[in-house]
Subunit: 199 residues, 2 copies
């Protein structure tokens, strides 16, 4: 293992990373998630390093570009949300698993206000992330929709991608989650899914 | 009637406007609506005047600020959409009138992409328009919702304002209407309204 390998970022997953370097990377991503949510994606790297218990030099070595850190946080949150789908499907019935996953996804979108602005900034560093989002969350939701439709709990003609993007749009503006409006309207969409199953 | 009264804009509705001046104002608003939809709200005033068959000097006299023209177009479209509600209620049953009105409203939102950017530009000239929008479309939709709920066709616990803003958010991004995605998702919301009436 060379020193070079230790400085690799998660953007190059094929390369081996020393265990202590990986711990620092994980701590920085976890810290960035917290700091971004509290202060936005333009928060100083010194704050993120302090939160992670890591020196600023180390933070800078792993994430020399802020966009690398934003990308890493975004991917990790997408991955966690996608992985929640089979976990919920194992624990709950198909309709309940779907409802709970949409609630989980709504929470993910709700903490993404700062990230969303970065993602839509036109910075080419973020160009691949919408595809990453759809490639991971699309199949996760599709599987839940198919199971719930198979159980006769919802209609079977709604595309996962339509629903993902629509829920994101409903939840995106600041304040709508705090007011409960987004949750009410997402619940109305889910009732729309149930309506066709009933008739 | 003084010359001053003839040059009044619709922003001062309490003042008398000579019939020929009003014809010019109406023609300019109608032309602006077409030109804004085709070329955006930054389209040259010369294009709007030409479309209206009015001299540029006249156009400038009535709408010295572009924001006056944007405001006039927006208000007229809000008024027309609000007035469609009682017209549809007179012609169709409560559920059908609601569906058709939402479709009409979706069309209004769809042509508002350029206006939306102007409205959200922070220009104080547009500060009163969101309130105008809600004050006119809120009661229009409320009446339709109450009639449909009274007829047992939909649930009665959804606020008109929630629905107005959510449909606007679903329909706002460019391309979603062309792809049919917005229509499918708005239809799903309406089915959500029907679901609670059924159970």
């Amino acid at each position: 293992v060379t020193e070079d390998a230790a400085t690799v970022t998660p953007a190059q997953p094929g390369r081996r990373v020393r265990a202590d370097a990986q711990r620092n990377i994980d701590a920085l991503i976890a810290a960035a998630k917290v700091v971004f949510a509290a202060s936005g994606v333009d928060a100083p790297l010194t704050d993120i390093a302090a939160q992670a218990g890591v020196g600023v030099g180390t933070a800078y070595r792993h994430f020399s570009q802020r966009s690398d850190l934003v990308t890493a946080v975004f991917r990790q949150e997408v991955d966690a949300c996608a992985q929640a789908a089979p976990a919920l499907a194992a624990e709950y019935g198909p309709g309940e698993a779907l409802t709970r996953w949409i609630d989980r996804y709504t929470g993910f979108i709700a903490t993404k206000h700062g990230l969303a602005a970065a993602l839509h900034s036109g910075d080419p560093a973020f160009a691949a992330l919408p595809a990453y989002f759809l490639a991971h969350l699309g199949p996760a939701l599709s599987t839940l929709l198919a199971a719930a439709a198979g159980a006769g709990e919802i209609r079977g003609d709604i595309a996962a991608e339509d629903l993902l993007l629509t829920v994101a749009r409903i939840c995106a503006p600041a304040g709508v989650l705090e007011s409960g409006q987004a949750q009410r309207m997402v619940a109305l969409l889910l009732d729309g899914l149930r309506y066709r199953a009933v008739t």
